[in-house]
Amino acid sequence: MELERRSQWLRGVLDLCVLGVLAHRESYGYELIQSLHVAGLDGIQGGTLYPVLLRLQRGGQVAAHWREGGSGPARKYYRITPEGAETLRRSAADWEAFAGGVSAILREVAAR
């Protein structure tokens, strides 16, 4: 996949994907990367993820607290806030509409 375009796409949706993962349960940075990988978004680096988490935290979409790690350094756990859940709900609906249109155009190409 073309890297330049992929990073553009990612820039648009990564915050929503993070909110989507956190909607299930709270998580910390490294674990989030693994979850995203499992879901199909692989190759996300720490340098890309953490600034997104900072922005979400600053915007009130997520809240964070520290928890002692069992065998290792303390971890900063993020959980989704009511505002974040609301943003996620609205954006998910917007995405359905948006992606639907794009898919319709591109499906024809893939089929040919």
């Binding site: 490294y30 720490g46 997104v52 600053r58 350094p73």
Partner: protein
């Protein structure tokens, strides 16, 4: 790159970008934990410390920057300054008012009289017309020069400090603190003539701020600074602003993020293209 070298560099860069200490601490802890757990190479996972710190600073900054409260009492009044060299009018009826806690940038093309204007404000050059009023004490940093070739930095601090009525120890400590803010250690007894151009300008800048003047006039003082020192310089300007000084900076590089309140453009009106 080893983890702790990279993390140290990140810590320094975060400080340079003005990230609050507590936030920076959190970021560093989280980043260190991630590296510990993932075993990633920091350069691969996060990139060079300078770039990552810039991204973090951007993410952390509240936007838009809160509109600053109106400034305090007037500290510098410049009224109707006109200056001619022969038949060429370099400055025509220039006015400027700077209050405590404000930063003014003086911009303009080469030869538009920026340095002359600052020299007039500092009382080193006489205008043909107009007047300047300074409320309090004045500090001035020229574009170059202003240092004594055969003296070491500490001696410069003592000299300026004595003029401002500071004790020897007070002047020396104040000078060293000012130098530290610009990422420079002035101990070591190097004579000014042996300092590099950028370091000499740091000395110049520290001397200008010594003794807590109320008004600071800085003529492109960052000549020869590397990128990091340039950021440090604007950090220092913001710190001075936050303690209520009035600062005028002559510059031809203006970054909208630098937090400037007033812009005085000295480009002659006839040359401004629509």
């Amino acid at each position: 790159m080893r983890h702790d070298t990279w993390l140290d560099a990140l810590a320094g860069e975060l400080r340079r970008h003005g990230v609050a200490a507590e936030t920076a601490g959190n970021v560093l802890a989280e980043t260190a934990a991630h590296l510990w757990e993932s075993g990633d190479d920091p350069l691969r996972a996060f990139g060079p410390p300078q770039a990552y710190a810039a991204t973090v600073a951007d993410s952390v900054r509240l936007e838009p920057p809160p509109r600053r409260a109106p400034g305090g009492p007037v500290r510098l009044e410049v009224l109707g300054i006109t200056k001619r060299y022969g038949r060429r009018t370099v400055l025509r009826e220039v006015n400027l008012t700077v209050r405590a806690g404000e930063v003014a940038a003086v911009v303009g093309a080469n030869g538009s009289g920026k340095s002359t204007f600052l020299g007039i404000c500092a009382g080193l050059v006489s205008p043909d017309r107009g007047e300047v009023r300074v409320h309090g004490a004045l500090g001035y940093c020229p574009q170059g020069g202003g240092t004594s070739d055969f003296l070491v930095p500490d001696e410069h601090f003592l000299l300026v400090g004595a003029g401002r009525g500071m004790s020897r120890a007070g002047a020396r400590d104040s000078g060293r603190a000012g130098a530290a803010a610009l990422d420079w250690d002035p101990r070591g007894g190097t004579q000014a003539r042996h300092l590099s151009g950028g370091t000499r300008q740091k000395l110049n800048l520290v001397m200008a701020g010594l003794g807590d003047p109320d008004v600071l006039l800085l003529d492109e003082p960052y000549q020869g600074f590397d990128q990091g020192s340039y950021l440090d310089f604007w950090q220092q300007v913001r710190r001075w602003r936050d303690v209520g000084k009035a600062i005028v900076v002559v510059t031809h590089l203006l970054n909208t993020r630098d937090g400037v309140d007033i812009v005085l453009d000295l480009t002659p009106r006839s040359e401004v293209r629509a």
